[in-house]
Amino acid sequence: MAPLSLYIMLSTILFFIGLTGVLVRRNIIIMMVSIEIMLNASNLALVAFNRFRFYDSNDGMIFSFLIIAIAAAEVAVGLAIVIAIYRKKKTVMIQDLNVMKH
């Protein structure tokens, strides 16, 4: 098996890929996809720590399950908001949403 550090590095890289997506992209749907990538990075870290260091309990895995459920709820609400935006403005670009400027 690969060492734990590789798993954690993988999860860190995944986390920063997600963060880059949120900060650099302007398409709301892709920003939400990037947030999903960030959540999955945390899941991977939790699971890897659970497997390698704290294998006599299942805490990390249970956290991952709960995070998947939370992500589902978040995506449902987020996509509903995107639908409402698209109905109103016919766009999914965050830079087109600037009714409120100073």
Partner: protein, 174 residues
Amino acid sequence: MGVYIFYLFGTGLIATSIVAILMKNPVHSVLSVVSSFFFLAGIYAGLSMQFLAVIQILVYAGAIMVLFIFIIMLFDLQKSEYSKDRFLWRDLVPLALILITAAGFISAISRSESIKNYVANAKLPSNFGSVSAVSFEFFGTSNSVGRFSFLFEVISILLLSAIVGAVVLAKRKL
């Protein structure tokens, strides 16, 4: 053997995730993330978390990401619309910051003692990562309550609020 599978899946995971945030077309992006979640499920299975791997595919790739695809299909986005999202020079600032932070994280991980400190090839409990372990943690046994049953209930309220919220926001006429 397991090491090579990890390398394979890990490379695939990173590659598909990078593709996901680079694609102009949101459909391509979402499909790329779906495949990255398949790789992730493979890594989970390699960590003997079989049930989590199944859930990752069924719920994450199968339900959550398909929801994304449904929404994109609903919008029928044109190329002129989504190609407005292009890389600007001022995006280099967050990009540089992220690269620096990420480098800091990687060096921290390589120095960390608790990460070096683990039992390789440890003997796992027989029910590790199985459905019975999950059910025990959530629901307990016939005369005791699971440790995470409270959080399970809280999640149910969270899902209720998400349903109500999604209906409020997306219903045509209230």
